[in-house]
Each structure stands twice: as structure tokens, then as C-alpha cells.
């Protein structure tokens, strides 16, 4: 009985907007007063089957970027988590705190810092390159900002601490006697890692991958500030349809398509999220 009120609130807050979006996507509602509404699938048909539809193309492009960022961030976070769990010893919690310290400031401010302080033509990175004579003074590296590189870098930076946490949790709580047993039985450190440590940490790795994959699928802030015209992600299209070039009906089609994609990803990876990360055991069957 006590669960019903919060459950109702969650359902209303989660499903209500989706229902409204669905109505917009089918032209049963409109954001322009006075515009007639009637069931119309044409926006869906255009998005799904329209020849050379640019929004569909942007959708797949965004998925590629998202996958790339997720894989790279997870791969980058693993050594970090490993260092914290196995090498840092008594410094691991202070170091963990340092790792997440930037997140006490707003995400937007950190992105603007990358854009305006670090990567722009007179930014820190170019200044360092000039000081080291790796680039002619006054000549900025063109792909540092408003590029795929800058989007990738900012998303990598933004997500790596979060991604390191579930891996760290698994490694930290792993039964270290198994690794000792492997080395006692003659396994090298590398072999013990690949045959014992890594397989046991997979639930954390997959959880970490999902942690970054799902939110970045709808990312729009980072591309908005550090992406160029050719690097905007699917989330930017949705944002623009609801903001600067308003067409909520078409925007709702894109938003529902994105929600459906995230749901599919959740179903695909959800089983791994059920695993108790502290156990460091194989994924749930």
C-alpha cells in the first residue's frame, strides 16, 4: 500500500511526458495554437522510410559516436579503477574523492571551460603547443574545437569518473585470494589478470559501459558547445525542434525514436545491471 503513491508519481512523471510526446508525434496535438490536429503518420513515415532522411542519418551517426565514446571511456576507466583498487591502497579513497572533485561544479561550466579556456584558438592547449614549438605561434590546431574530437574528449572527460566507479566497486570487493591462488599455481601476473581478475570484473565493466552508453545516446549539451555544424548529435536535433526551430510534431517523432532505442538498450544490458557489483561474480543468468 505504501508503495502505491510513489509508484503513481513515478508513473505519471515518466509516462505522462511520453504519452504527450506520442500524441505530438501523431499530430494529435500541436504547439501552434489554431493549427488543426488529426491522426497523421507522415512524420513517422518520413523519418523511418523517407529517402535520404537526414535525421535518420544523424541518428545512426550519433549511435556510432555514442558507442565509440562508451567503449573508449570504459577502456580508459579500467586502469584507473584497477590502480585505485589494487595499487593505491590507503590512498584509494582520497584519490577517488579527487577523481570526482570536478563534479562538484556544474556540467555546463565544465564544458564551457573546455570550450573557452582549453581548446579555443587562443586556449591553453594551443598556447602549450606554441610554447613547445610543436605548432607555429598564432596558428591554431583546427580540429581541437568544434569537431568530433572535441565532442569525444569532453564526453570522455565527463563520464570517466562515473564509469570508473562500478569497475572499482567490483575490483575492490573481489576475492583477492583467487588471484593469489592463480599466481601460486604458476600463472604470471598478466595471465592471472586476463584469466581471473578481468573475467570476474566483467559485470562492473558492462555496468560501466551501460552507465555511459544510455545517457550519451541523448546527449546534446556537449555538441552544442564544442561541436561544429557537422558534429551535432541526434539529441541536438530534438532540442532544436523544441526550441530554436520549433516543430514539436517532428521533434516528438525523434524523441520517441530515441526513447525506444534507449529502452532496447536497457533490455539488452539490463540483466547485467541486476548483478550485485559487490560480489564480483559472473553475470546473472
Amino acid at each position: 500500500v505504501f508503495v502505491i503513491p510513489p509508484l503513481a508519481v513515478v508513473l505519471i512523471l515518466l509516462l505522462g511526458p511520453v504519452v504527450f510526446l506520442s500524441l505530438y508525434s501523431l499530430n494529435l496535438r500541436t504547439n501552434i495554437p489554431g493549427t488543426p490536429t488529426a491522426l497523421d503518420w507522415s512524420n513517422w513515415q518520413d523519418f523511418l522510410f523517407g529517402q535520404g532522411n537526414p535525421f535518420r542519418g544523424r541518428f545512426f551517426y550519433s549511435l556510432e559516436i555514442t558507442l565509440l565514446v562508451s567503449v573508449a571511456t570504459t577502456a580508459g576507466a579500467y586502469p584507473l579503477a584497477y590502480y585505485l583498487a589494487f595499487i593505491a591502497r590507503r590512498f584509494r579513497y582520497p584519490l577517488l574523492l579527487l577523481l570526482i572533485a570536478p563534479f562538484f561544479t556544474s556540467y555546463l561550466l565544465r564544458i564551457v571551460a573546455w570550450s573557452d579556456v582549453m581548446l579555443n584558438d587562443n586556449g591553453v592547449v594551443n598556447q602549450v603547443l606554441w610554447a613547445l614549438h610543436l605548432e607555429t605561434r598564432g596558428t591554431a590546431v583546427g580540429w581541437l574545437l568544434y569537431s568530433n574530437f572535441s565532442i569525444f574528449l569532453v564526453l570522455f572527460y565527463a563520464w570517466i569518473p562515473f564509469v570508473a566507479l562500478p569497475i572499482f566497486a567490483v575490483l575492490e570487493n573481489m576475492d583477492h585470494r583467487l588471484i593469489e591462488a592463480a599466481t601460486d599455481l604458476g600463472a604470471s601476473r598478466v595471465s592471472a589478470f586476463w584469466r581471473v581478475t578481468f573475467p570476474l570484473s566483467l559485470p562492473g565493466v558492462i555496468s560501466a559501459f551501460v552507465f555511459v552508453l544510455i545517457p550519451t545516446t541523448g546527449e546534446f549539451i556537449a555538441p552544442l558547445y564544442v561541436g561544429g555544424p557537422g558534429n551535432q548529435l541526434f539529441g541536438n536535433e530534438i532540442q532544436s525542434f523544441f526550441g530554436s526551430s520549433p516543430n514539436w510534431n517532428y521533434g516528438a517523432v525523434l524523441a520517441i525514436a530515441l526513447i525506444a532505442t534507449v529502452l532496447v538498450l536497457m533490455l539488452l544490458f539490463g540483466r547485467f545491471l541486476n548483478t550485485d557489483l559487490r560480489q564480483g561474480v559472473e553475470p546473472a543468468r
Binding site: 537526414p54 557537422g230 520549433p246
Partner: protein
């Protein structure tokens, strides 16, 4: 006293609403919600960091704590925010979507008798701010849209028309505005379409313009949304050499020591005028009038012109009051009909704006 400050003979043609029983200003909360462009906040508010003194009369009298600003970055967005957000007491859009604001029931006519400076406003702009004979828009600022470019980086021979933004020589150094209607107007002018038709493009012309913008897209470093946090910083840092801009950017970039020039395209510049609208649901009717009066009075307008070098609607801002006479002359600031004179093309209402917005989205996504 207020009646004596009413409109001129011509302005008096604008019907004012029948007086209705409204609570006096002392009974209003004074919590003003304003939909505004960045840089135009009232003097004294924390948000006003550019040095504009307009609005000072109001904030001196009523303080700053009651004013809340919401921001717009283009006119399509302004209309959408006014429709789905708010309600706003005062809105500062440009004139082209005036009829949409009225038809959507978002605004109500001003009582021009409550605006002592109304009689000083440019009759041409006042007339253009009317719809169905009622004064829905109080004109305030006007200016031009063109390409701002680095004269020390761009060959003079290349800087003759809008095609400068399409010149592959400057790939990666161009930045157009993320404004759907404006970019289609630019593309139309570049394609040689009659400027009179730039806001009434046929379907085939929209497709042509869209293709031209898709062709131009790779040359852009970015499409800017914010003048002060994107357009001007990127131009100043040298990240871009050619950007769509309004004339205040010319002033700012020259002040920053850059060799900047404001293109006079052979196809003509774009021109615009903006002003204040009164929210239909405002509970601060008299506060809203006081607020707008503090912007349209001559002192505020002179200072705004000397800060941004935009034209103002107040006819008491004569050329002799403008500090940089050469710049004022080059921008024709003394001409009350400058925005429709010569080779200037006033941005106007587009009957197929939805199609343009979708086409622009396709350009961005392509």
C-alpha cells in the same frame, strides 16, 4: 499630464484599449517576467553587464529584484517560448512575427497614453508596430544584418556579396547564425532571388536555398546561437573571420582592436526592427508600461545608440547626439526609413515559416 503626452496626429490613429477597471500600480506585484535578448536587460540588474543604461528609470523607482529575464536567441524561438512558456509581462521580439503573437492571443495592445515618450517615436515604425489598428508593438531598436569580416584576412575582391560565406578559400573560418528564416533570406539573396520575395519563397525556391545552405555548411566552424558567448568571442579570438552579425559586433570588434568590416553586399543588407509587446495575461499592466517607458525615452535611446550603434525609434536621437559621426553616417542612423531605404531588405513575416524551419533542420542534420 499623461494625456498631453499622447501620440502625434499620425500616431493617434492607433486605437488604444478601452479603459477597464485595473488595479492601480500600487496593487500590482511588480514581479515582471521579461522575454528578452541577452544584452538588453535593464540597467541596475545583475544581468546587465554591457553598460546599457536603458531601464534605469524603472529600476531606480521599483528596484531590480522583481524583474526576471528569460532569454531568446532567434525570433522563431521567441515566438515559441512566448507560446509555450511564460506568461510574460513584456516581450522584446522583432516585428516580423507580430501577427502571430496577436493571432495566438499572446499579447494585448499598449495604452500609448501611459507612455510619455510615445509621441517622440518614429511614425513609420509606430505604424509598422500596429495590427488591426492597435499598437501591439512599441518600436525601440533597429539595425542591419550582414557579414562581419576580418579586413586583414579577407581579400577585398572577395568581400562584395553574400557569396563570401560560400567562398571555399575561407573554409572553417565562417560562422552563420542558427536562425532559420535569416539563413534562407541570405541564401535567397545569394541565389539572386528578387529580395522582395525573400520571405515568400516558393517551394522550389526553398529547395534551392536549402541546397545552397547544405553546400555552404561544411565551410562553417559553427552555427552560433549566442552573440556574446559565441559569435563575438570566436571572431575576436580569430577562430572565425567571417560571421553573420549585427552592427553592434562591428563596434565591439573595432573597440577590441580588430580590423573588422561590415559587408555591404551588392545584393543588399538585411534589416530589422524590434520592440516591446505587452503580455496578454500580464498582472503588471502599469509596471509593464513604466518599464517600457524607461527604455524608449530619449536619454535611454541616445545611450543605447552610442553603445551598440543601433538605430532607435526615438526621433529625438538626432545624428548630432551620436558620438562617432562617421559610423553613424555609414549606418545611415539619421534616416528614419533607413531599414527600407536603398539596398536594405527588411526581414518580414513569412507565410511558410514552418516549412523554412523544417528545411533548416534538414540543413543542420544533413
Amino acid at each position: 499630464v499623461l494625456a498631453s503626452c499622447g501620440g502625434t496626429a499620425q500616431n493617434a490613429g492607433a486605437a488604444t484599449p478601452t479603459p477597464t477597471a485595473r488595479p492601480p500600480i500600487t496593487a500590482e506585484s511588480g514581479q515582471l517576467s521579461v522575454l528578452e535578448w541577452s544584452g538588453y536587460e535593464a540597467a541596475g540588474t545583475k544581468a546587465q553587464t554591457n553598460g546599457l543604461t536603458a531601464g534605469k528609470q524603472y529600476t531606480d523607482a521599483y528596484g531590480t529584484s522583481g524583474i526576471t529575464y528569460s532569454y531568446i536567441t532567434n525570433d522563431d524561438q521567441a515566438l515559441q517560448k512566448a507560446t509555450s512558456g511564460g506568461p510574460f509581462d513584456v516581450i522584446h521580439p522583432c516585428h516580423e512575427n507580430l501577427q502571430d503573437y496577436v493571432n495566438r492571443g499572446l499579447v494585448q495592445p499598449w495604452d500609448t497614453k501611459l507612455l510619455p515618450s510615445f509621441s517622440e517615436l518614429n511614425p513609420f515604425l509606430v505604424k509598422a508596430g500596429q495590427w488591426n489598428g492597435k499598437q501591439y508593438l512599441i518600436p525601440w531598436d533597429w539595425g542591419y544584418g550582414s557579414l562581419l569580416y576580418r579586413a586583414d584576412k579577407i581579400d577585398a575582391a572577395d568581400a562584395t556579396g553574400w557569396e563570401l560565406a560560400w567562398n571555399p578559400k575561407y573554409a572553417g573560418k565562417v560562422s552563420l547564425w542558427n536562425g532559420a528564416s535569416t539563413n534562407f533570406e541570405i541564401a535567397a539573396l545569394k541565389l539572386g532571388i528578387n529580395p522582395k520575395n525573400m520571405d515568400t519563397l516558393s517551394s522550389s525556391q526553398v529547395q534551392l536555398a536549402k541546397q545552397a545552405l547544405i553546400q555552404q555548411k561544411p565551410l562553417n566552424k559553427l552555427y552560433w546561437d549566442s552573440e556574446y558567448s559565441q559569435e563575438q568571442p570566436n571572431f575576436q579570438s580569430g577562430t572565425v573571420w567571417i560571421t553573420y552579425a549585427w552592427q553592434d559586433s562591428l563596434v565591439s570588434m573595432k573597440a577590441a582592436g580588430l580590423n573588422a568590416a561590415f559587408l555591404t553586399p551588392r545584393q543588399g543588407r538585411l534589416s530589422w526592427f524590434c520592440g516591446f509587446m505587452l503580455g496578454a495575461k500580464t498582472q503588471n499592466y502599469y509596471h509593464a508600461h513604466k518599464y517600457v517607458e524607461s527604455f524608449i525615452n530619449a536619454d535611454a535611446c541616445v545611450q543605447m545608440t552610442n553603445l551598440y550603434y543601433y538605430g532607435t525609434a526615438n526621433t529625438n536621437v538626432t545624428p548630432d547626439k551620436i558620438q562617432n559621426q562617421d559610423l553613424a553616417a555609414s549606418l545611415d542612423l539619421g534616416n528614419p526609413r533607413a531599414i527600407v531605404s536603398g539596398n536594405n531588405h527588411l526581414q518580414s513575416w513569412s507565410p511558410n515559416r514552418s516549412a523554412l524551419e523544417l528545411a533548416w533542420q534538414e540543413v543542420v542534420a544533413s
